[in-house]
């Protein structure tokens, strides 16, 4: 009960601090024109959140946190989004990769995470490859150990969020051959300004260059950068994905709720169309289900309980809700969405395209269905003939 009261008072304090800083932070509520500007704003907001102690809740003290439950941080960030601020991009990455590094590489976390948590560094996550998307175990990037203990990296990553701008990447690579599948993998924290690394931004259909390809040619990484142990990369990755389904999904939910809020305000100034009520009603309902479900998952993660295959449900509800909100915006603001050249309109389009990705990244919708069918409903394995 004490913990609940404490959380409540922290959240109240946060609301008060955010309101007090409203003018100082006003420029961070203005939609950014491009990714570089957005990332500058993200860093500034990260600094403010960190220095006020807000985003330090739930991280252990040895990595620069204040301890306590990560549920506090999750709710702080939700309130931030609903107050009209984009959740910092820096934080979105750290919420996925951070907990796994804390758990599997405590020394490395103590050394490197504090700078990232303040927003002074931008991190990224290097899992997907041209030939390894939902089938992550097919990845080919090699991390071969030299005699001096360092790793030599060769290969290519793709769809890396903020890849062209990031300072570091949490990289999943293998020591042996592709036939080893999920065996023999290693997770490394790699500096992206190192020699032998090249990056190429990828423009999404909206024109936004948030994603990138990253190429590694004999790039050298120190032995102190291993997350987990050599050969355990797969289990570290699976552990990490729990947070992608938990905290990251929660943050996407908060962001999508903020979008619905923006849509309702936009609709308030125009003549309501007949399909407005059922369309926003359905979008809201999907968000509510996602929030309730993700909250339960966060509580389980916070209590150290395994969440396993059940998180596929969270992932499905996430893409359904996100797409419902952005489809509602596209349907109910058709002229703005299709014809307007304002920054605001461009944002709706960016978000719409990004919401399509929600059912692709982190294991496509179809993969989540298969996981539920196999591991929860225990249905017969899918016919593999011809594949």
């Amino acid at each position: 009960m004490t913990a609940v009261l404490e959380t409540d008072s922290i959240l109240d304090d946060f609301d008060a601090a955010l309101t007090a800083a409203s003018e100082e932070l006003a420029h961070l509520r203005v939609p950014a024109e491009d990714v570089a500007t957005a990332l500058n704003q993200s860093r500034e907001l990260m600094n403010w959140l960190h220095d006020g102690g807000w985003t330090r809740w739930g991280w252990p003290e040895h990595v620069g946190g204040l301890g306590g439950s990560s549920l506090i941080r999750c709710q702080i960030v939700e309130r931030l989004a609903l107050a009209g601020y984009p959740i910092p991009d820096h934080l979105l990455v750290l919420e996925v990769v951070g907990p796994a590094i804390v758990k599997h590489a405590p020394d490395l976390a103590a050394e490197r995470l504090p700078t990232a948590l303040r927003g002074d560094e931008l991190w990224s996550q290097g899992f997907s490859e041209p030939e390894a998307g939902s089938d992550l175990a097919a990845l080919r990037t090699k991390a071969v150990r030299r005699e001096d203990g360092d790793f030599v990296i060769n290969g290519q990553k793709i769809w890396t969020s903020y890849g062209a701008f990031a300072d570091r990447i949490v990289l999943l690579a293998r020591g042996g051959t592709v036939d080893d599948r999920h065996r023999g993998l290693v997770m490394l924290l790699v500096d992206l300004n190192a020699e032998g690394i090249e990056r190429r931004p990828i423009a999404l259909a909206s024109g936004r260059e948030e994603l990138a390809e990253v190429f590694f040619t004999d790039a050298v990484v120190g032995a102190d950068r291993v997350i987990g142990a050599e050969g355990t990369g797969w289990s570290v990755a699976m552990d990490l994905l729990q947070y992608e389904r938990g905290t990251y999904a929660w943050m996407r939910m908060a962001t999508a709720t903020a979008y619905l809020q923006q849509l309702l305000i936009a609709l308030d100034t125009q003549q309501p169309s007949a399909n407005a009520a059922p369309t926003v009603g359905q979008a809201y309902l999907n968000l509510a289900a996602l929030r309730a479900r993700t909250a339960a998952t966060l509580r389980r993660l916070d209590a150290g309980e395994p969440v396993g295959a059940e998180t596929s449900v969270d992932k499905l509800l996430l893409s359904t809700a996100e797409q419902a909100v952005l489809d509602a915006a596209a349907a109910l603001l058709p002229v703005q969405f299709l014809l307007s050249d304002t920054t605001e309109a461009a944002h709706w389009r960016d978000h719409w395209w990004y919401s399509r990705a929600a059912s692709i990244y982190g294991g496509a919708r179809e993969v989540q269905y298969s996981i539920i069918a196999d591991r929860i409903l225990k249905l017969p394995k899918e016919n593999t003939g011809g594949r």
Binding site: Q261, L285, A292, Q368, I372
Partner: protein, 310 residues
């Protein structure tokens, strides 16, 4: 309520549902359900209605939970529940028009829950405006009520009725989730065992994905019920009921498809649940109607309501 007590409770409710032929509402008191209801209503109601949903049986337990905690005079009355509408009564000038259903087979006075209170309808009046109906789900043994009464002749019933409708929404949502899970289990078993083209039907991608999708929807629905109990707001209760109705219908549609023709017959258990699910959704207004109302409210407020802290 600890996990062990919860398990014991679940086991007794299951046994009751399996062995008792009639309305289980009359039996609930015997094994101490009413005490649990007082102590931990969220757990007790979720458990009872989830199990009732899973058993596919009708009862008047909804009346029990609607009247729980009310002065003893009200505890034995039947509630007139709204059907295909959010409320069972409409005020027209000095008249109260009542349109709804009674779940219990026994006669007696009935209750209409109004905004902020409840009134009693005397037994004679109830009888005059009530007729048994079979309809889509004869097993529900509903009685349809159609009455127009002078509002000032009705006796208000003491007690706090503000939360009653929300409690009923949450109970119905739990029953819909139980109903959906039962259908999913039946369909999963059938497509695992039955083969076509030399392999189990469940080894094909399409039925696997359809059932997985409904599992996700039911998972969301179950958590919305818990969230609605945590916040206690009428809005969250209605959201839970609406989403559960939507999830149960999606599940029904998917299961009826993958089970094939046999699933549409009296030889199969699935129609029992499909019928019941449809009726449960219509109580207190079906999901489509309700989504319209929720969306209309969001547009009117031009704001997303504050969500309960986690």
């Amino acid at each position: 309520m600890d996990a062990e007590t919860t398990d014991l409770m679940r086991a007794s409710i299951r046994e009751l549902l399996e062995t008792h032929d009639g309305d289980i509402a009359t039996k609930l008191e015997e094994f101490g359900f009413t005490e649990v209801l007082d102590e931990d209503p969220a757990m007790a109601i979720d458990l009872l209605f989830h199990e009732q949903g899973a058993a596919g049986k009708a009862s008047s337990a909804l009346d029990t939970v609607a009247c729980a905690g009310q002065p003893s005079t009200a505890s034995r009355r039947h509630v007139i529940h709204p059907f295909a509408a959010p409320a069972a009564s409409t005020r027209r000038g000095t008249e109260l028009q009542i349109d709804g259903v009674i779940l219990s087979k026994s006669d007696g006075p009935a209750i209409v829950i109004l905004e902020g209170g409840a009134v009693e309808i005397p037994a004679a009046e109830v009888n005059s405006g009530t007729s048994p109906v079979a309809g889509f789900d004869p097993a529900a043994a509903l009685r349809r009520v159609h009455l127009t009464l002078a509002a000032d002749t009705l006796t208000p019933i003491e007690g706090d009725w503000t939360d009653a409708t929300s409690t009923l929404h949450r109970a119905l949502a739990s029953e819909l989730v139980g109903n959906g899970h039962a259908m999913l289990t039946i369909a999963a078993e059938q497509i695992t065992e039955r083969t076509q083209f030399g392999r189990p039907i469940g080894a094909n991608q399409s039925p696997r994905h359809r059932l997985a999708e409904t599992y996700a929807l039911l998972g969301g629905a179950a958590e919305l019920v818990h969230a609605a109990w945590r916040s206690g707001t009428p809005w969250d209760a209605r959201v839970a009921k609406t989403y559960a109705g939507y999830a149960a219908e999606a599940t029904s549609r998917a299961c009826l498809q993958v089970c094939g023709a046999i699933g549409l017959t009296t030889e199969h258990r699935l129609p029992i649940y499909a019928k019941r699910g449809r009726l449960l959704d219509a109580l207190y207004g079906g999901w489509q109607q309700s989504i319209d109302a929720l969306g209309g409210q969001l547009l009117a407020d031009a704001a997303v309501p504050d969500a309960v802290r986690i």
